[in-house]
Every structure is written in C-alpha cells, then in structure tokens.
Symmetry: C2
Subunit: 459 residues, 2 copies
C-alpha cells in the first residue's frame, strides 16, 4: 500500500493529495538554495484528529512528516523530504475565540498573523509580533520559528505571547501545555520547548495567546546618515538613554535606493544609512522622537525628519516594509541572513558587512531590526555565474561567522531549519548540542518529525 | 569512603560540611509540612568547577543532589533527602557585570534579588521581578522556580528576563544556553526548560538577565470594599479597560486586620477586602489612578484613597509587604497556597475560599497578586489539634481543586517542589506528564538531580 493509499484509509475524504503538480507547489518554503525532496503525499489537516492520525501512522511506519504553514519560512524547515508526508495546517484557520476581558486569543495554527492582528484590533486589543511576512504567514509558523518583527524591540517576540499550546506528539498523542492564566509554573515549560522547535518535537494544533491593550497610534521619525557607523552608534546611544521606541529600524544605502526605485519617497541622496523610529507613547511620543533627533544629530545625522502625522508615519513605515520586495526586484538571486548581535556591536556588524562585500566581490544589502541588534544582510548575486554563486555562499557564511565573533547569534528570528543546521553546531557548545539531541530522541524516538532540521548530525 | 570523605578529596578545602547542626540548619526551605530527610553532606560551592565535580561524582555513585539557594522556597524543593548532598550556591554571589548600554546583567546564582535590584537601580536600570522574598531569596532560586512578585502584572516574571544560563548537567558537563542578544532562536529553548525546573534538570551557575530602563516613581491608590466579590470585579473591570498598572494587589479583611495589628495604618473598619494599585506612568499616573477610582467606586468601593505622594505610596505598599509577617504573627501553623486563575474567575475564587473556610472549619486568609489572578490563600490552624490539622490539609487541597475547576493552575509562582507534585499529576494531561518524565530521563538518566521533586511518580 502506498503512503497515499494508507493515509486515505485513515482520514476523511478531501484530506490527502498526491497530484505531482500539487506536491511540487508545496515542496518549498521561501528559503533560497535549500534542497527540497519529493514528497509522497500532502495532507491538508482540518482537525487535531487528522494530525493525530497522520502522526500515529507515520510513527508506526517510520515515515518522515514535514509540518507546513504558509511556507513563508526562510530557513527551509518547510521543504519536502524524499518520501515524506507534507502536513499542511493551513486549513485549520479558525480564530476560536478572542476574550477582551482576559486579553487572550485562542486560535488554530493556520490563522494568518495579519488576520489575527486585525481581528483583535477591532476589539481594542493588540497582538504585537509582526514578522515581515505577517500578511501571509500563519500563527502556527510564527510559533514554530518564534518569529519576531518590528514591534519586538518594545513588545517582545512570538514566544513571549504564547501562554499555552495543544500539540500532537510524534506518536499521535495530544498534549496540552501551559496555561490560560497570566502566570503559571506548574511543571517544565513544555510550551517554550515547542516554540521555535520548527516542527521537530511536535505539531502545534492550537495556540493560546496573550494580547495587550491597544497602544496609541505611533508617531514616526527618520534620520539619514552620511556615515554608516554613525547610524549604528545612534541606535545604541538612543536606547542607552532609556527610551523604548515601538520600532527602531535600519536600512543601508542600497536598500533605500532599491526602495526608492519602486516608490519614490524623496529621500536625500548620498546617504550611507537611514534609521526609522516610532513612538507609541501618545502624549509623550513627541518628546521621545525629539530625544531621538537629538542623539541622531549629535552622532552625525545629516537630516532628521520628525513627522507629526500618523498617516505620514505609516508611509515611512511602508518604505521599510517594501525592502523585501525591493531587494527581489533587483533581479538577482538573494541569500537572506538573520544575525543578531549585542547593540553596541552593531557598528562593527554594519561596517563588517562592507568588508565581506569587498572580500567576496558580491553585493551585500542590509536592513533590519536595529533596536534588537537583529540584522538581515542580503547577499545578492548572479546565479548563472558559478564563481559568483560560490562567492555568495562564502559571503553568507562570513556574515554568520562575523555575528558569532561579535557575541551574537546566527539567527535572531528566522530559525535554523535546514539552511543553518551546520552553523548551529558552531553556536552551541557540545553539552548544548547533546542535550538538544537527547530531547529530540526522547520526544521523537523514531525521528519522524521534520528529521534533519534544526539540529546538526549527532557526532 | 563516606560521601563527605569522597567530596573532600574532590573539592578544595572549606567546601564540604557534615556537622549535624549545620546539616540540620540546611535541611529545609520554608515550605510547611514537607518532609525533610537527613543529608550526608553540605557543599558550599564557590565555582562552576565545584558544582561540576560534585555532580560528576554524584552521577557516578547514584547519590541524590539537592541544589539550594537561600532556602526561602515555599514548596519543599530545597528540603534534604536521606543521604543526599545539599549543594548550596549561596556563596556564588558575585554580580559579574552590569552593562547599562546593553541593559544586561550577568550574575552568579547566589546573588540576592534585592541586592541586584539595588545595584542596577544605581545605574539607572530596573530589574522588575520582585518576589515577596526578594530581600532574602537568590536569583538562582528565582530562576529555578520562575519566581513572580508584585511587578509581574506589568513587567512579567523571572523567566521573561532570563536571556541565557550557564548550567551544570547531571553528569558534570557545563552547558551555556541562550544568548546575550535581545533576540535569538538558535535551537531549542534550553534556557526556558531550565527556568522553573527546580533543580531537577541541571544546576544553574550563571544567569544573564535583561534589564529595563528605570520607570518613574509610582503613585499609589487603595480601595476598600464592604463586599468581597466587588473587589474581584474591580480587578477584571479595571484591567479590561486597557490599563496596565505596575502593581495591583488584593488583601482580604483578615489579612488587613493582621497587618493593622503590627502597623496601624488607620484603614477603615468593617471592610471585606482591600485593593492596592500603583501606576508608574509618570505624568499619566494620576489619570490611571483616577480611572481605577472610578471603576472601584462604580463596583461598590466604600472608600478610595489616591495618594499623590511617593512616600505615602511606599507606606501603603509596606502594608502589603507585611502580610507574610502578619500571618505568621497569628501564632498558628500556616499552609500557603498559590493558585492562579483567569482574572474574571477571581470573584468565584475569593468567594469560594469562604466556602472552603466554612466547610473545613479552619481560618483561610488571602492576599495576592490580583492583577495576575494569582492568589495566596493561607490556611491557618492549630497544629496541636490533630483533627484541625487534618481539616487544614483538606482545605489546602480544596483550594487547589477550586483553582483547577476555575480554569487555573495549582501554582502561579511558588513552584511544585515536593508539596504539590501529586497535584501536578492532576493539572497536566497524560501526554504532558509522560513528556516531562521523558525529558527528565533524557537529561538526568540516573535521577540524581533533586529526585522526586516536581514530577509525580511515573505511572
């Protein structure tokens, strides 16, 4: 019996797909240059019972299962493996409940981040985690990568908002973790163990999220710097004064230029970097932005624009949000990195990228969540040129090496997946790696849950 | 060779103690009615190497190790086991560094919470977690229980501030978890797995903590309610309006009365409950307290006092902080509970306590972190009366059952330890329990790390 036949016996009608075109369309997330195999079947789960049935069967038969949300991930954790079952959670997309009094939402994993944010906003609430993919990515995917975004500098990452989960374990059993209450310390933190595990320890089928009261509409300022290092020093200098902006983003000259080509925002010419800051402090927002202006000017900004209009601020934010599209429009192949460094090392990070660019003779663009020290350097290269492609991969690696050297991490929010699993072996120490492997073996002894992702080969 | 002799061979001089009086003095934390065994030795570790040597030896010889901080815990996780090594981290009490620019502190586990809070305040920073024990409890203990406190309603619990750890594993290997950066998702969240594990998965030897900029000095209000239920409804009603007070505490009539007996604060007579709220919003604090006054009055408060003086506010906070001492001064034995419920169920919680009191004919006092739904009901009873003692234990159990029934947890911040391990089996489902046991076996296969704590017997 084939995998498809076996799954069709187990599951209600309309769940199992094996049309080659459908499978091919579901075989990759958005990571570039990550190998993808040929899946045996795609299951579109519609209930926890569906997920449970698939895992129980896969565990008994030693078949790999790759959980998928919107396949918007950037690390290859959603890519197919040869002969695997692709387990899509996209159709489990119900917002089960929003509780304004308790400030909690309960959702299925396939809910789109932006849809949830909009639904809670209608109730006067705020779900802060806002990955760049928010209009397409799912909460389940956000949980599985512990996704970040622009609001994290003030409000924290996805994991900070996850109170509890329903998770299907490798053998198909259903586990509830965490709590519905504001606090709780009953037993090991299985919730946080699942957050960011990229589907290698269990499949998330329900998420209980903390919400916040709505914040005030933010005001926005942008600063332009002739010198790259000055922009980095402004970030650490401003935050060290004790300010907590709701957004603090960085764009280098190449990124600003790329954005200007798809939306002319009239930004000044000849600048090396731009910072974008928002304050959602309401009446106190102008003072926070004035403090930013003061620091930026002292550090060497050539121009600082403080907007007193929410609409104009939204337009400036749009410039930042367009960076991904703008990079893609360059018509080159892209390798997107995700290093995060201590803020005071940002200066060395951004200037170091220039060295990487020169040394490996490939273009390196950079934008990122400067307030968190989380940068997304992008190596752009001509894929038809084998030598340039090789140099691009070297540059990509050099960026991670630089991040580690500066006391940082290889991934601030995109996850390890397949793309960086060997690099995880360089970031963790031997005890951390072997503990991680021990946990994986304990929870998934037959190694069916997204095998080969996150953890490097055991030594 | 005895345990003491073996350890003295392994460790530098002045580390190993076996004087029976010293051992007896270190055999218990502050949990009442938790059995404690007779330890073989006490080790006062002074370095990670000391901890590593003890665990390596204990793991080889199958000797139980009970890690201890200040022994201020309330769940018996620090109590001696027969023949165990008590491993005290109290002498590892260095603040290794405070980095104002990066807003990070690195500390050894024996640092007292209040000492750290004071040290970072001197640098213009804020370490929010403030358990009631803060003047005596250690950061290592706070991490191991994921301790809370009064500031948590706005700022979160200990775990929310832990970026990374150095942990000695059961076999003596040293592991670094987490990151120094604001964000990071490289691999499984081993940091959070250790937080709240009460020394059953590893021994924490260094902690990297996030700090915040200092907040404004808070202003304070108190409200007095003739009806218990009205105080609970005020809590959920006020928070549902979107306010984020920095403190929102509850005291019942018996607790207020007990406090008045050690410090007469001139509180009105005949009230059923008191709420205490603080706002640290600076210029916006008076408006937040006015909103509280409005809700409290609408809900039936007989008197609301809004203080415009920081000093007077500190005096009112003192009343709340004295509750523990005041309860002890009643001259009765106390069983301290720690249930946490969804905020809208607080009304049922506090009125339910009155039923428990009547049904089991023991006094039940209550104070707690109302804004988090985290209540500390205290059963006070005459220990010389066997029948009353039995009823007190029944009441203690009835309170946890009530918490679970209301959708809550058996422990909001004190931990499971020995006191509530059987109850953990009622809170977690079968899959959660077996997953927790699998993790414990994977990380501590010889079961030497605080064995028998947290997890109930495997079924």
């Amino acid at each position: 019996m084939t995998t498809t036949e076996a799954l069709r016996e187990l599951l209600p009608e309309g769940r199992v797909f094996d049309d080659p075109d459908v499978l091919a369309a579901h075989s990759r997330d958005r990571a570039t240059f990550c190998p993808a195999g040929t899946p045996a079947a795609l299951v579109r789960a519609r209930s926890t019972e569906d997920v449970s049935a698939v895992l129980r069967w896969a565990n008994e038969h030693g078949v790999a299962v790759v959980p998928q949300g919107a396949r918007s991930g950037l690390s290859g954790a959603g890519n197919a493996l040869d002969g695997c079952v692709l387990l899509s959670l996209e159709k489990m997309d119900a917002i089960i409940g929003i509780d304004p009094e308790e400030q909690v939402a309960v959702v299925q994993p396939g809910v789109i981040n932006g849809a949830l944010a909009a639904a809670v906003a209608e109730r006067g609430l705020f779900y802060p985690p806002d990955p760049g993919s928010r209009s397409i990515s799912t909460i389940g995917g956000n949980v599985s990568t512990n996704a970040g975004g622009m609001c994290c500098v003030k409000y924290g990452v996805t994991g900070d908002f996850v109170r509890g989960l329903e998770v299907v374990l490798a053998d198909g059993r259903v586990m509830r973790t965490g709590r519905r209450t504001a606090k709780g310390v009953a037993g090991y933190d299985l919730t946080r163990l699942m957050v960011g595990a990229e589907g290698t320890l269990g499949v998330v089928t329900e998420v209980t999220l903390s919400l916040r009261p709505a914040s005030a509409q933010p005001l926005t300022a942008v600063a332009f710097f002739p010198e790259l290092a000055d922009s980095a020093r402004t970030v650490s200098g401003f935050l060290a004064e004790g300010h907590r902006p709701s957004v603090l983003e960085f764009m280098d000259a190449s990124s600003v230029k790329a954005v200007q080509q798809i939306a002319d925002l009239g930004f000044p010419e000849g600048m090396a970097a731009m910072l974008l800051v928002q304050s959602d402090l309401g009446d106190a927002a102008p003072a926070e932005l004035a403090a930013f202006e003061k620091v930026a000017t002292a550090m060497g900004a050539a121009e600082v624009v403080v907007s007193d209009s929410v609409a104009e601020g939204e337009m400036l934010m749009q410039a930042r949000r367009l960076v991904g599209d703008a990079h893609e429009k360059l018509g080159k192949a892209l390798l997107i990195d995700d290093v995060c460094v201590p803020r005071r090392r940002l200066e060395e990070m951004v200037t170091g990228l220039k060295r990487v660019e020169a040394e490996h003779r490939v273009q390196v663009l950079c934008a990122g969540h400067a307030g968190d020290g989380n940068m997304h350097p992008v190596v752009a290269f001509d894929e038809s040129d084998a030598d340039e492609t090789a140099r691009a991969h070297q540059a990509f690696d050099a960026i991670m090496a630089l991040g580690l050297e500066l006391g940082g991490t290889i991934t601030g929010e995109h996850g390890v997946g397949q793309l960086k699993r060997d690099w995880l072996g360089r970031e963790l120490d031997e005890a951390g790696l072997s503990t991680s492997h021990a946990i994986k073996r304990a929870l998934d002894p037959n190694d069916i849950l997204n095998p080969g992702r996150v953890l490097p080969e055991a030594s």
